[in-house]
Symmetry: C2
Subunit: 300 residues, 2 copies
């Protein structure tokens, strides 16, 4: 393994199939009329690369396909994305990389061609992520600022469904508000936010909230206005068969403060412990070490 960190590996995924192409990250790649940039009209997934392979692959493939459906993008070819991911990871390992973040991006493509654009990037895990894994994160709770009103169009049939054009539940490229929320938190001296709605816990800016109390894991019910978390799903799947009770049920802000521990789950950070919520420190208890082991086992 080389002593310097390798640069990113980029492989272009041809939407019509065929072989992938390696792209030099120091060269421009996207056209100015790609709807992924001009309208944020695209989706992505971020996977952890560890020990030479992309983790939690099936759940990411499923969510990627679901996101594409919600945006009426042509269905991504799962076998092709999986194969290209393996190639990109192999390139990464060959160039001396170890743990990494692998990002899939898939857009509606150039306005002038109508063909989707797809690519896979493998890049180092940032220093910030490594630090947050070690030290945990301080979190500001804050109302998300909007509520989904699950009404249907006036001309539509039925009722109670989330309007399809909101594309909630799709992991789109539309992260300007999430990024603004993280800047807002940082300006107030926090690492992250947990969004709330009238005291009910929703999710982090880029993560799923999980609480641990005794042998019980809890997360707010995913779906509707919460993006289903692939890391939380892997954790619950493993923990549920190893003696833990795993519940998807409403969590209040007060539940966060009374839990044994609170975690933000996401693909690359994995599970980072919340060490402070607003002005309340959450001390590390003896149980935290055991939970860390569980998380490591579940996610590796």
């Amino acid at each position: 393994m080389s002593s310097t960190r390798p640069g990113p590996v980029i492989l272009i995924v041809e939407p019509s199939g065929g072989s992938s192409r390696r792209h030099n990250p120091e060269l421009a790649m996207l056209y100015a009329d790609d709807l992924g940039v001009t309208r944020g009209d695209g989706i992505f997934e971020t996977l952890l690369v560890r020990d030479g392979s992309a983790r939690n692959l099936e759940r990411h493939l499923e969510r990627f396909a679901a996101s594409a459906r919600m945006l009426s993008l042509p269905e991504p070819n799962a076998a092709q994305w999986a194969k290209t991911t393996a190639e990109a990871v192999a390139d990464w390992v060959d160039s001396g990389g170890d743990e990494a973040a692998c990002v899939w991006t898939y857009t509606r493509g150039r306005e002038s061609t109508g063909r989707p654009t797809g690519w896979i990037t493998v890049k180092p895990v940032s220093e910030k992520v490594l630090r947050q894994r070690r030290e945990g994160v301080s979190v500001l709770t804050t109302p998300r600022g909007y509520s989904i009103t699950p009404t249907l169009p006036e001309r539509g049939a039925g009722g109670g469904e989330t309007p399809p054009w909101l594309v909630t539940g799709a992991k789109t490229l539309n992260y300007a508000a999430n990024m603004a929320a993280l800047r807002y938190a940082a300006a107030k001296g926090f690492d992250d936010v947990i969004f709330t709605d009238d005291g009910r816990v929703l999710e982090g800016a880029t993560s799923t909230v999980v609480t641990v109390t005794g042998k019980t894991l809890r997360t707010p019910p995913p779906g509707r206005d919460l993006l289903p978390g692939t890391t939380q799903a892997a954790l619950f799947s493993y923990a549920g068969t190893h003696g833990w009770t795993c519940l998807e049920e409403p969590v209040d802000v007060t539940d966060l403060l009374s839990a044994d521990s609170v975690w933000l789950c996401s693909s690359v950070r994995l599970a980072v412990r919340v060490v402070r919520i607003n002005d309340r420190q959450l001390p590390e208890t003896a149980a935290v070490a055991g939970i860390r082991e569980l998380l490591t086992a579940a996610l590796s």
Copy 2:
């Protein structure tokens, strides 16, 4: 003027100042790690080019600067953007183009460099826009599906303000939901949507709603969850000094049906008349011709 339509003109705006660079639109331009595409972290403006110049320039510059502030992007240099716009339009005219759409895009830039990315594209007005100007548009009214809850963070001071991280009012690249709404409308046989909230008219997917009744123009009050419309502002400014009463006040869906005429205002389509709302035709009255003249005068 050539008989074939010219291709787009692209000029790169260097964020640190200096001269602009012309970019070949058939070559890739953006890097794979540009936050404009990976997170939709950027803003844009679309201007009409007519008779050799970009129209309504000051209002677009103002909104562009306001959008940048809301996203904590470095303030765009107005003089530089105006100058580069004039250069791009001159290039466009030199290559035989006449009426056009000019798009400014400004992103947080490459993750690996931290320098913003900016560019200006001048391209033909689409056939669809030309047709909608002539024939008007059919519109589906539909609840937007979410409500802004103007609460402040639990630790914040005051109350009643739109949460800053929602970046509502900024014209960001996050248009996936708007595009999905237009696909939804198209699938039901409509050209466009007018979003509503509990019977109150909000805005079009990419336009401001204006009603005309007698000598009175009305538009829903901009701000908070409605993007201030540069075209509607130009229209009201002109009409207000030419014998019209111009009101920013709540408009209900029933007001749309009882108005003399209803218009969707945006930079390149200008004002297109709504010819059908849901299953109701809105007949062209004798007054419509006069309103068209007003709109043309105000926006030229």
